[in-house]
């Protein structure tokens, strides 16, 4: 469920918005390779996470609202080519803004740093239990 996805108001520094909530990160990742409508975001997140993360409409649109207000995502005026993918005209499509791309990159870099630190400390991958301890 959704926490505060971006702090109130607009920021010009991606670092001000970090760390992102899991909901916000999943939405930005869903939009990283192209624009999607709300239901499309839900499906992408569910498929990518193997069904572990299922965003409900309230969680999704609350986050979309805040991400849009924060200038992280924007509404796309374009619609898919009707010949390729017939779609409901009323659907609204969302995409990452330029700033949103920077926010996503900064968050991924932050997480990458955490993973590297965990590796250095031997916490990842999880150490195998020793036979004596079993």
């Amino acid at each position: 469920m959704g926490g505060e996805d971006v702090p109130g108001g607009r920021s010009s520094d991606p670092a001000d918005l970090l760390p992102l909530t899991p909901v916000a990160l999943n939405i930005l990742l869903a939009l990283a390779d192209g624009e999607r409508h709300g239901y499309g975001i839900m499906l992408e997140v569910r498929e990518r996470t193997g069904g572990r993360v299922r965003l409900g409409p309230g969680t999704l649109y609350g986050a979309i609202k805040r991400l849009k207000e924060g200038g992280v995502i924007e509404e796309s005026g374009q619609r898919p080519d009707p010949g390729e993918a017939p779609d409901d005209e009323r659907r609204r499509y969302y995409r990452l803004s330029g700033f949103g791309g920077e926010v996503l990159a900064a968050e991924v870099e932050r997480l990458d740093g955490l993973v590297r630190a965990a590796r250095r400390k031997g916490a990842f991958p999880a150490p195998k239990p020793s036979p004596e301890g079993a």
Binding site: G3, E4, T21, P22, P57, Y61, D88, R91, R92
Partner: protein, 214 residues
């Protein structure tokens, strides 16, 4: 792909329409701002989820979807409402603080809270205003710092009242009761403003600091 135990296509369509309609009416739990902008999409999205569940798992799938959606709906509605409240709380806090400061300046330097008009003891209220202004500058107008600044301002106001009472300032024009009531009024306004700032601050914590996620 129809589920063996699921409804037939026409019954399925009716179940989707009914569910979508019920969900649409529950959207009233959200603040109008969110509802007006995204309500239609949310309902359509829920309709898509209903259709998918009915096709894949039949009536049981639809029931499970409702069982997951209802708590999510009420939790997020509460969250959205508290976010809206926090936005208004900040504005209200600024309004209360400015109004209190304006009335304080007007009363103390125009009419005189302590003693008669022009009593030098009223200059102590410069200090109260200064505490608020310096606190706001230090806090850079951010809600948690502003809450502390306003609590400090209320404390300074109470201190002025205490000094006036202990040293008998303003007598015989201002009795202890008058000093207590007038200063108490401003203490209440500054504390009220501080509490509103604190409430606004709770909603402006960094993203990971609030509520359950994922």
């Amino acid at each position: 792909m129809a589920s063996p135990g699921g409804p037939r296509p026409r019954g399925r369509q009716r179940a989707v329409v009914t569910s979508e309609r019920a969900y649409r009416s529950l959207l009233r739990a959200y603040p109008r701002e969110l509802r007006d902008e995204y309500g239609e999409e949310m309902a359509r999205c829920f309709g898509e989820l209903c259709r998918e569940e009915l096709e894949e798992r039949g009536g049981l799938g639809l029931a499970a979807l409702w069982a997951n959606t209802l708590p999510e709906l009420f939790y997020t509605a509460l969250k959205e409402r508290s976010t809206m409240f926090a936005r208004y709380a900040y504005r209200a806090a600024v309004g209360v603080a400015l109004a209190a400061a304006f009335i304080l300046v007007w009363l103390s330097f125009g009419v005189g809270i302590i003693g008669a008009d022009g009593d030098p003891a009223n200059r102590m209220y410069f200090g109260v205003i200064a505490v608020g202004i310096i606190g706001a500058i230090v806090a850079r107008l951010r809600p948690p710092g502003m809450a502390r600044a306003l609590f400090a301002t209320a404390l300074a106001q109470a201190l002025v009242a205490g000094i006036a009472l202990i040293f008998g300032l303003g007598l015989p024009w201002s009795g202890p009761a008058e000093i207590l009531i007038l200063n108490g009024f401003f203490v209440a306004l500054f504390v009220g403003s501080a509490l509103l700032f604190r409430n606004a601050g709770r909603e402006h914590l960094p993203p990971a600091g609030t509520g359950p996620e994922g």
